[in-house]
């Protein structure tokens, strides 16, 4: 992690075109940006491409960074804009092939006869996690792109309603409404309806 005093120096070097300094900056935030992209795209390859695009845009725009806001705040706005452009550039219909790919990746361990050197309980747990992760991704994919983005910005980035509204160019009321709908749909997708909370094995699974 970059220490606070190092950040301005790294930014100044990166502004002058120092790739090494810029890579140090990316190292500090690349997981966070990638995770956001992964939740948004639901596909590891697409997440990689999208997050790389974010970094390239950031590198090109770094000269315009004046330090009036935090570096990550500035970077996040670039991320949001990139995601929104990505959303406009393609249909956000869930791709069945992707689903098959991910599920296949999980199931193929047994199909390929790969021996997992771990206890049976742990292996089952991992498989369960993978399946539930697919379920979450399926739920996210069923959300409209903007709703999904709003949900991610709120839940993963911890932005306030107002911050999201400003970043996406919508009202705070729309943000709140989108969040409510997104959470309802995800809950339904996970089978966590009212009265089933006690039986939600995945949610309480440690």
């Amino acid at each position: 992690m970059i220490r606070e005093p190092e950040l301005p120096e790294l930014i100044a070097r990166a502004k002058k075109g120092d790739h090494e300094a810029f890579c140090l900056l990316t190292r500090a935030y690349q997981r966070r940006i990638y995770a956001l992209a992964l939740h948004y795209t639901r596909d590891p390859h697409e997440a990689e491409d999208l997050s790389q695009e974010v970094w390239l845009k950031a590198f090109r725009a770094l000269g315009g960074f004046r330090g009036e806001s935090g570096f990550y705040t500035w970077l996040r706005q670039i991320t949001i804009n990139t995601f929104l452009n990505h959303q406009r550039g393609r249909k956000t219909v869930f791709n069945e092939d992707k689903k098959a790919f991910r599920l296949g990746a999980v199931v193929s361990l047994d199909d390929l006869g790969i021996v997992v050197q771990e206890p049976q309980v742990v292996a089952e747990e991992r498989l369960h996690q993978q399946l539930m992760a697919e379920k979450v991704m399926q739920g996210l994919s069923e959300l409209p792109a903007q709703q999904r983005l709003i949900f991610l910005l709120k839940h993963r980035e911890g932005m306030t309603y107002e911050e999201i509204a400003e970043a996406c160019g919508i009202s705070a009321g729309t943000v709140k409404k989108a969040l409510f709908r997104a959470l309802q749909r995800l809950r339904e997708g996970l089978g966590l309806k009212l009265g089933e909370a006690e039986n939600a094995t995945y949610a309480t699974h440690k």
Partner: protein, 337 residues
């Protein structure tokens, strides 16, 4: 009194931590009173936890990141920063605040004004160097290859008047032969007030230059150039045919050009009068007379009329004067004998 609907409306804000502390504790208290609201709240938090766990499960292993960074570096190598930004960074090396366009624009305007003033001042002063100044100049005396001196006759040949006239100026560097008739008059007028300097220059075998007159406006210089070409052309006009025993000359081209130049000449002369520019006033006055004469010539003038104007041109040495005035000034004032 607990209201389930009202509490449910606040659950989203509670889950996303958007409630003020006092409201938060109030809603939390409500949840302890109602199992149904509590269950609703739990399903929401469990959903969010599931999303977190899914994200963690799908994140790539640590071994993935070096490859990710290598790919990013390869992509970066193909990207050059925006040229505008690069220029800004270059300028920022001079501590210019580009994000403050108003001060920058003000500074740029001030710089332009200063440059304009400096250029204008230099242009008006020109490379003039009076005999006195030049006499004190190391450059003038040590110049290894002094350029030829150009002298405009200071006295009209008709009168032989040697009094310093405004037209008796020197334009340096123009390769025109000195006029023998004005050789003595030119130094006398320019260094008369400084006998010692004059003696020194004579001893050094240098001819002091007359004081250079005001440099003409570029517009006037161009006018002189055109007029000079016209007068040269007029001077070379030859008889073309004989009508009833008289030689006539074809001066249609010169007439046409004279009319064109006449209007410009009048404007320039008036301008010179307004500014009190005596040398310009004089040469433009002489030129105007000649231009008028040429412009008013008949289509086929007899040779005598044309030769009369040509003789006047020669007497006044107007072509030479125009050549001098049209030439760009060059800093060189002394010529060894």
């Amino acid at each position: 009194m607990h209201n389930c609907e009202q509490t449910k409306e606040q659950l989203l804000d509670l889950v996303f931590d958007e409630l003020a502390p006092e409201v938060r504790s109030q809603v939390s208290a409500e949840l302890t009173q109602c199992q149904r609201c509590l269950a609703e709240y739990q399903t929401l938090t469990e959903t969010l936890r599931a999303v977190d766990q899914a994200g963690a499960a799908l994140m790539p292993a640590e071994s993935y990141w070096p490859e990710y960074e290598a790919k990013l570096q390869a992509n970066l190598a193909q990207v050059r920063p925006n040229p505008v930004r690069r220029f800004q960074h270059w300028l920022q090396g001079f501590n210019l605040a580009l994000w403050q366009p108003v001060p920058l624009a003000t500074a740029a305007v001030a710089l332009l004004v200063a440059l304009g003033w400096w250029w204008n001042a230099n242009r008006k002063q020109g490379p003039s160097l009076s005999a006195r100044d030049a006499g004190q100049s190391d450059i003038a005396f040590s110049s290894p290859t002094p350029l030829p001196t150009t002298v405009i006759p200071s006295a009209t040949p008709e009168t032989g008047n040697a009094s310093p006239k405004p037209s008796a100026t020197l334009q340096q560097g123009t390769p025109i032969r000195r006029n023998p008739k004005s050789r003595g008059a030119a130094p006398a007028q320019s260094v008369a007030s400084d006998t010692a300097a004059s003696e020194m220059m004579v001893a050094a075998n240098f001819i002091p230059a007359p004081t250079v007159g005001p440099v003409f406006e570029p517009e006037a210089a161009r006018h002189f150039e055109k007029a000079q070409m016209l007068l040269r052309s007029f001077r070379n006009v030859r008889p073309v045919k004989t009508v009833r025993g008289n030689q006539t000359m074809d001066v249609s081209y010169e007439k046409q050009w004279s009319r064109r130049l006449l209007y410009q000449n009048i404007l320039l002369r008036r301008d010179a009068e307004t500014k009190g520019n005596l040398p310009a006033q004089e040469v433009l006055g002489d030129l105007e007379t000649v231009l008028l004469d040429i412009a008013n010539l008949p289509e086929r003038p007899v040779a005598g009329t044309v030769r009369e104007i040509q003789a006047r041109l020669q007497r006044k040495e107007l072509v030479a004067a125009l050549q001098v005035y049209a030439a760009p000034p060059v800093l060189s004032v002394y010529q060894p004998h």
